[in-house]
Amino acid sequence: MLDLMRSDIAAGSAESSTETVARALATLTPADLVQLKRLAQLRARLLPGLEWDELLNEALLRALDGSRRWPEGVPLLAFIAGIMRSLVDGRVHERRRLAERALIGHAISLAAPPDAQLHARQCLAAIARFFTKDPDVLALIAALAHKHLGGSDDAAPRLSQKRREAARKRLARAILRGQLDGFLP
């Protein structure tokens, strides 16, 4: 994996952001490209009906048209992943707003549309089923998700360092090989 930074690519300060991103994209290795696809697939799973290639295409457009600047010190894949995250968040908020508007007058307050909640539950259940024979991976996912929910930083405290790293490798392999995505609803 190249882990490209902006400073690795930009020929000089005069070079446009578009050109810098374009040149960096052209140098991505096959491993980077597959990783980019997996990141898009994961992020697209947050929104039922959203396709990964549609999301990635939109993110590339934003990166290349200059509307999102590639900051110094941020790897290219992290930059693109950040754009995808922002795009999905925007669409989630938009759907929620539309659902709330549709319910005006019905005296019901919704935090999120019911289909989105059902989809989230189904995805969480699918992950639990996929790793049902690997409790270490499930513990790791739960601990990492807890951390992203604002919990403690101690990932999977019940696991030893060695088991945690082994679980992390198995999890990464399942995602990178596309096995997990094929299992999700």
């Binding site: 374009a22 491993a31 990783q35 947050l46 590339l60 969480l124 996912i141 998700a145 999890l171 990464a172």
Partner: protein
């Protein structure tokens, strides 16, 4: 990450799970078995996007410059015999307008 999200909300938990899985993928070493078809698929998507951003990436010599009209040089070499004729005249007996000014009215090719 901004603030503590509601852990009981399935959407918040699913989003946090995706964030976690994304972090694992980004920190992972290269997978030794790369599916080249998938890599090509993403490469093609990037290439199409790059082509849209750079609509004119031909060498300067290949690009028609403004004010210079294209010259069509007649082919003087031997041509194969045509077996069919196409009538390009319209109802008024003139050649189709898309043939340009060099078209001969009523010409058959």
């Amino acid at each position: 990450m901004t603030g503590i999200r509601d852990a009981s909300d399935p959407i918040a938990r699913w989003r946090a799970t995706i964030d976690a899985l994304e972090a694992v993928v980004r920190a992972a070493p290269d997978e030794p078995e790369i599916d080249m078809a998938e890599a090509k698929e993403v490469r093609r998507l990037i290439t199409m996007r790059l082509a849209a951003v750079r609509p004119n990436n031909l060498p300067a010599a290949w690009v028609r410059r403004p004010g210079i009209l294209p010259q069509i040089v007649p082919d003087t070499g031997a041509r194969p015999e045509t077996t069919e004729t196409i009538d390009l005249t319209d109802r008024r007996g003139r050649a189709g307008s898309d043939l340009g000014s060099s078209a001969i009215p009523g010409r058959r090719i």
